[in-house]
Amino acid sequence: MISIQAEDVDIGTLVDRAKQRGTGAIVLFDGIVRDDGIREMELEAYQDVALKELERIAEDARKKFGLLSVDIIHRIGRLKVGDNILVIIVGAGHRKEAYEGSRYIIEMIKAGVPIWKKELRKDGGRWVPGEHHHGRIS
């Protein structure tokens, strides 16, 4: 499942679905709204382009690390402290591929998928600066 959505996801169900006969390891990454003195967080996406890019990253990761399953769910809209922002579930035959595949996916998302976060504080809002000045999307 590759999705950009406002709704939360049931991580347990996704992990269960990711298990196949050859699966020996599943790595779950759950990015969460941290309490940095913020009231809420607002997430915005260039939806069509971001979804295609997530699909491409998932496919690249499958091939590069021989992954058996990849799920990426990135949430948008208003989120509060403790909410899930990004859930990545990677299934592989062994832990090495699962860990490496998961790390690859999060770093690629950070580098170039057109999604933005805005921290909403009592005294106003602040767009979170990107880690990379230019994305990788070609």
């Binding site: 990015g31 997430l43 915005e44 996406a45 260039y46 069509d48 382009v49 971001a50 295609k52 990135h74 922002i85 990004l86 999060i106 998302i109 950070k110 580098a111 170039g112 998928v113 057109p114 999604i115 933005w116 976060k117 805005k118 767009w127 979170v128 600066p129 990107g130 880690e131 990379h132 000045h133 230019h134 994305g135 999307i137 070609s138």
Partner: protein
């Protein structure tokens, strides 16, 4: 000729989004963005520097594909194009 211009994040707050423009044939991407952004000084200043060049961090797309700022002057817009202009991404 109709094209759609979409700004995101801070640029959207300053300039709006889903703007339908009707530029004359032969208009280049940089001229189109300059024309639309020029309607609001704060938005223009967020995207262009004092010399009128795209700021180094600005990302441009035409129909979902990246266009380097250095190529924007020779990228001619065609009917139905979707142009996106946005700051560095910060998802994840």
């Amino acid at each position: 000729m109709k094209v759609r211009v979409r700004f995101f994040a801070r640029f959207r707050e300053l300039l709006g989004t889903d703007i339908v423009a009707e530029p004359p044939p032969g208009t280049a991407l940089d001229a189109l963005v300059r024309e639309i952004a020029g309607k609001k000084k704060e938005g223009y200043d967020a995207i262009f520097d004092e010399k009128g060049a795209f700021r180094e961090f600005v990302i441009l797309m035409r129909n979902g594909k990246r266009v380097e700022a250095s190529d924007a002057g020779k990228t001619v817009i065609t009917d139905g194009d979707e142009i996106a202009v946005f700051p560095p991404v910060s998802g994840g």
